[in-house]
Point group: C2
Chain length 342, copies 2
DNA sequence: GTTAGCACTCGACGAAATAGAGTGCTAATA
DNA sequence: TATTAGCACTCTATTTCGTCGAGTGCTAAC
């Protein structure tokens, strides 16, 4: 089952070549490369073996070979070299992230754009999960009759708003009081426990406001993890430049998979548990992505992972380069969120 | 130059037919329709006339005719019938807009989705412009050292945030004071004048904070009209189902035009001056949209238009249906923003 | 174990043939 | 004078067929 050094070398050469050319690799192409002093016939024999072992596939009898998912997996785990970023690439990324990015939304968008611009694949990023954030401030701003805007701010500087109904008997001053009391009492409470804590603690000075508090708690729980999460996507059309998507139906398929952002959100949420993840072709849960690879990384404030981002591309992907880019971006992004303007 | 009734009728029949079939319409197809008791030869003569007048085009000698932009313009201006919505369509729209949509973002997204689902075209919507809104509340929430979150709320219940730097000497209590003073002083000031007004009025109790106020004003002006505006897009892939986009390059073109959302923002902003607008093919400023039509409508709070939304489709579009849908959605949306949860 | 040689397979590409839709024109008709 | 039937013609789309070339697998020789 294990591959000897020569098979490994040949397989790597094939994969590298296929990643560049996107067309099946023949034995001659490999035998001509420096490093192998072997005839094409020998390579052919080895390739036949590799095919039997499941690392290569043949589109049809008289074509060259293309790597299987299994081959990419091996490649990623054992033989890939990380490609460090060029100065131009770093410049390009910095250009996207330089401006005074004072809103999360904008940071997300710029990150996605930078990623897709540098990699030429499709980039995606999920907004930060607030669960592990801590409460900093709650503010109720009265609007027209019977409504108020509730604003919840976390220590990391993220804010969520919701318009909520306010019973008639609660006036502006009372809203102010409730804001102050809640802020003081629940300051630094984890966001994912906030609702629960408020409910438990309703006996105190806010007892007579318990129905209203209920409304607030509901809105808060609804906000911690937005139900229509705003995954930012960039460069979906990049995929159309790859020969694997010159078929309109393939393209349609891919774009459909990517447009339903719920899918991507699930993907990214799952991926946010691991610092980096690479999912190759059929390893994807989503059938529509079964000839794509997904590479993700996380971003964080301090130690706490907030969310993840990544790129989607053909399985024939520049894994080495992509990983380096993600690593770099992860650092940039985390730094931005921690030190700098939000 | 003017068309007699018969030419008009024939032209309308051709357009209606072409909208359905997407393939050039021959003389026989028209002569067989009820209503015209004319042979195909007569129709042919009329069609030749219509072509000479610029209303029809012939892809090649032995094909039928297709309507020109000029024909669609005439169609839209004079002969189109509005198609009222079916119950199913209304249900579909309501289904998208029913839930407690408590955040602008969500409303935008749902609207776009409903639009693209009902029309099968590509839908877009711009977020509300705050310029004509009035200030309701300013709140500064201290974050980690040297930072605060500035939150600006308008009377319509929209909020914008920005993380800003805070000089060391300004403590929490002082931030609170500044918030209160600004809110009191500039309550109900139009958002697009707010920055200016604050600058003018700096002499009062906040004189010693003028550098900090400068920072705030900068952030405010930056926020009133976001520079990377979050145009929501939905159903971009719908276009791939239309035969006019079975060519990958056409598809690429369209998707590229639509992905750079700046373009769409400009489009929508310009369109927000008119309650409804229809732009056909070459009438579009953007060359990449020159074989698309764009139909837009506005949404408002009270009398004040806030922004616009619309759909993009092939010039061969169901204009009547689309207009009705937009009309209906415009009402829905404005109602939602005015009465109900934001 | 490696290699040269060769017959074989299969898709890509282009030329030629065919079918069919639709036209424009002419001459007949009402 | 407006309409129509008839017909030759044009152009595209589709199919068929032959050729080319890349690449293979196998065998026999090194």
């Amino acid at each position: 089952m294990d591959l000897d050094a020569r098979k490994l070398g040949i397989l790597k050469a094939i994969i590298d070549e296929y990643i560049l050319s996107a067309s099946p690799v023949g034995s001659r192409a490999i035998s001509k490369q420096d490093g192998f002093n072997l005839s094409s016939a020998t390579i052919r024999n080895e390739m036949a073996d590799l095919e039997e072992l499941g690392y290569l596939e043949q589109p049809h009898t008289s074509a060259g070979r293309i790597p299987s998912d299994k081959a990419y997996r091996l490649y990623v785990d054992q033989m890939m070299q990380k490609a460090s970023l060029t100065d131009d690439e770093i410049k390009l990324i910095r250009a996207h992230l330089t401006a005074k990015l004072d809103e999360v939304e904008t940071v997300m968008k710029q990150t996605a754009q930078a990623l897709s611009a540098v990699t030429h694949y499709t980039a995606m990023i999920m907004p930060p999960m607030l669960a592990a954030n801590r409460l900093r401030h709650i503010q109720l701003v009265p609007l027209r009759e019977g409504r108020a805007l509730m604003i919840v701010v976390t220590t990391a500087g993220f804010a969520r708003e919701a318009v909520i109904r306010v019973p008639e008997e609660i006036n502006t001053i009372e809203l102010e009081r409730i804001s102050r009391v809640l802020t003081e009492r629940f300051r630094d409470c984890r966001m994912d426990q906030l609702g629960e804590r408020i409910m438990q603690d309703m006996g105190g000075e806010l007892f007579e406001r318990r129905t209203f508090l209920n409304t607030m708690v509901e809105a808060i729980e609804h906000k911690i993890e937005p139900d229509a999460p705003n995954v930012q996507l960039s460069g979906a059309t990049n995929m159309l430049h790859f020969p694997e998507y010159s078929d309109v139906n393939k393209a349609k398929m891919f774009l459909a998979a990517v447009e339903g952002k719920g899918t991507l959100y699930e993907l990214l949420k799952r991926a946010s548990r691991l610092e980096f993840s690479i999912t190759i072709g059929g390893e994807n849960e989503n059938d529509m992505l079964k000839d794509c690879s997904v590479v993700t990384a996380t971003y964080q404030i301090g130690e706490e992972p907030l969310g993840s981002f990544g790129i989607i591309g053909p399985t024939r992907m520049h894994y080495g380069k992509v990983l380096s880019v993600l690593e770099f971006m992860s650092r940039c992004l985390s730094e931005m969120l921690t030190d700098d303007d939000e």
